[in-house]
């Protein structure tokens, strides 16, 4: 019987992601603690986070409007297991529709009592109101804010 050979491998590449004009403007507004949406001239939806076109209508977005800072938690998960390369659990991640927006955006929910996961989940299933809370030093990144209960 041949002894089977296995060869170690490792991928470690660095990248720079180019956000484009719409997201760059969205991030610039975020540094001013404003969450912005872009409106589709056809379906009139306010798309948040802002982007340059509406994929449903194949239209460029036009008017930019400020949304939030409060909104409704739509759906969530409480991550309870550790995965290599991801932050330490427990973590709450949710989609929230900010007031004035037609779409939901994903971010973390901070400041919840997670001592009883089942109870925390039951509370979040009631779709609580939440608000955007900024960190101390906005970097112009989506991680500049998180959601907290309103």
């Amino acid at each position: 019987m041949t002894e089977l050979v296995s060869i170690p491998g490792h991928w470690d590449f660095d990248y720079t992601y180019f956000a484009g004009e719409a997201a760059s403007r969205f991030f610039a507004e975020l540094r001013n603690t404003r969450v912005m949406g872009a409106t589709c001239p056809d379906c009139r939806r306010v798309l948040v986070p802002a982007r340059s076109f509406c994929d449903a209508c194949f239209q460029r977005t036009t008017d930019w409007v400020e949304v939030g800072p409060e909104g409704t938690l739509e759906t969530f998960t409480i991550i309870t297991a550790a995965f290599p390369g991801l932050p330490e659990p427990p973590i709450v991640m949710a989609y929230v529709t900010l007031d004035g927006a037609d779409t939901a955006l994903v971010n973390l929910v901070l400041g919840l009592d997670l001592s009883d996961i089942g109870a925390a989940a039951a509370g979040l299933q009631r779709q609580p109101r939440v608000r955007v809370q900024y960190g101390p030093e906005p970097q112009g990144r989506i991680t500049d804010f998180a959601f907290v209960l309103a």
Partner: protein, 387 residues
């Protein structure tokens, strides 16, 4: 479709965490060799070869299919549409045959993720780098975000998910190719560790690798062969952004609009009007039991609010189709190949070649595929009758 298309041959490796005995090329070769032998055809009879592989980083090799491009001198394509790669690859091959550009097509899909030690980290890179990648979005958390919404909107319980998972594991005991052969009760599922509420370890698919291949041909090659006819196939896309679908009036994030639209088109082509009665077998692309439940209304098996009851009905009503007789993706999920495996399993059922997992008298079966946060969905209806 102009020329009707049939599955003439099926080849599959076993599915397991790792195949340390095989290179990527060996796995593709094994599936392709078996599919051609099953069809009774040589490589010279094949006019086009199409390979399906999803993210290269799962294998740690770029274009992992490159070392297995055999039968040189033919057109070759590679397909990557995430989780739906396997069925997209099969549909691409079927389109060659349907259009008359190939008498026979060999389609093969490979998952080599056994070479990866941190697959959820790789899966995090499939999300948008601008607005999403900084969050712990993975295949598991993406499913969990929907599962909690399904519970809230349609009244599913964690117990419902556990029942589905236990049935899939039970079916897999009859499938020698499946990755997991576990005797699992719904209680075992509920007692398994919580990964991301509401998803437990035993509701999530395993990380599997392996290869699947099909030989597709038209009417002339099907004559005298044991053929499973593709009676309808449809592929539909949706918006990438999950957040855009949450309040969408025509179908929310848990309504699987892309699958519903694919089903309508594929059923129309196949002449299916009552899916509860007209299918013997259903093979679902559902790596999580909550993902399986989401497909029931989209495929026309029940109204959305009747989903939880439909799980019970499956156990009580023998006139309903058998769901995932192979065990489905919860028992083996070679991601790039999984959607092709669903078609392969339906073809084996229709041809009466499914061994211990054979369901009696399957005249028609339906296979689904879903990928990219269900941005893509496919439905493939296979049957004994030429369309």
């Amino acid at each position: 479709m102009s020329e009707p298309v049939a599955v003439l041959g099926v080849g599959q490796t076993t599915y397991k965490r790792r195949h340390p005995e095989s290179s990527a090329a060996d796995l593709i070769w094994a599936a392709a060799e078996e599919a051609l032998a099953d069809a009774g055809l040589g490589i010279d009879a094949v006019d086009v070869i199409i390979a399906g592989v999803a993210p290269d980083a799962l294998a740690g090799e770029n274009c992992v299919e490159k070392t297995a491009i055999f039968g040189t001198g033919k057109p070759f394509l590679r397909v990557n549409t995430g989780g739906v790669t396997g069925s997209s690859t099969a549909f691409a091959g079927a389109s060659y045959v349907a259009s008359g550009r190939a008498r026979a097509a060999l389609v093969v899909s490979l998952e080599r993720m056994g070479q990866a030690s941190t697959s959820q980290r790789v899966f995090n890179t499939i999300f948008d780098p601008v607005y999403e990648k900084d969050f712990p979005l993975t295949t598991i958390t993406m499913a969990a975000l929907r599962a909690s919404m399904l519970m809230r909107v349609y009244g599913y319980s964690e117990r419902d998910w556990a029942e589905i998972a236990a049935r899939n594991y039970r079916h897999a005991l009859r499938n020698p190719l499946a990755h997991l052969h576990l005797e699992v009760t719904p209680e075992d599922v509920l007692d398994s560790p919580l990964l991301a509420w509401p998803i437990h370890r035993l509701e999530a698919c395993p990380m599997s690798e392996g290869a699947c291949a099909l030989v597709l041909g038209g009417r002339d090659l099907a004559a005298g062969r044991n053929a499973a006819w593709i009676q309808g196939m449809a592929s539909t896309s949706d918006s990438y952004a999950m957040g855009d679908r949450i309040r969408r009036p025509e179908g929310s994030l848990v309504d699987l609009l892309s699958l519903q639209r694919s089903a309508v088109r594929a059923y129309a082509d196949a002449g299916v009007s009552d899916p509860r009665k007209e299918f013997g077998v259903v093979e679902l692309y559902s790596p999580f039991s909550s993902a399986e439940a989401m497909t029931y209304p989209a495929l026309g098996f029940c109204a959305p609010l009747d989903g939880p009851r439909f799980i019970q009905e499956q156990q009580e009503d023998p006139s309903l189709p058998v769901f995932n007789p192979s065990g489905g993706p919860q028992a083996a999920n070679p991601v790039s190949a999984t959607a092709m495996v669903r078609i392969a399993e339906c073809a084996l059922q229709v041809r009466g070649l499914a061994g211990d997992r054979q369901v009696a008298d399957v005249r028609r079966a339906v296979a689904t595929g879903q990928g990219g946060a269900t941005q893509f969905s496919t439905v493939c209806v296979l049957g004994t009758q030429t369309p």
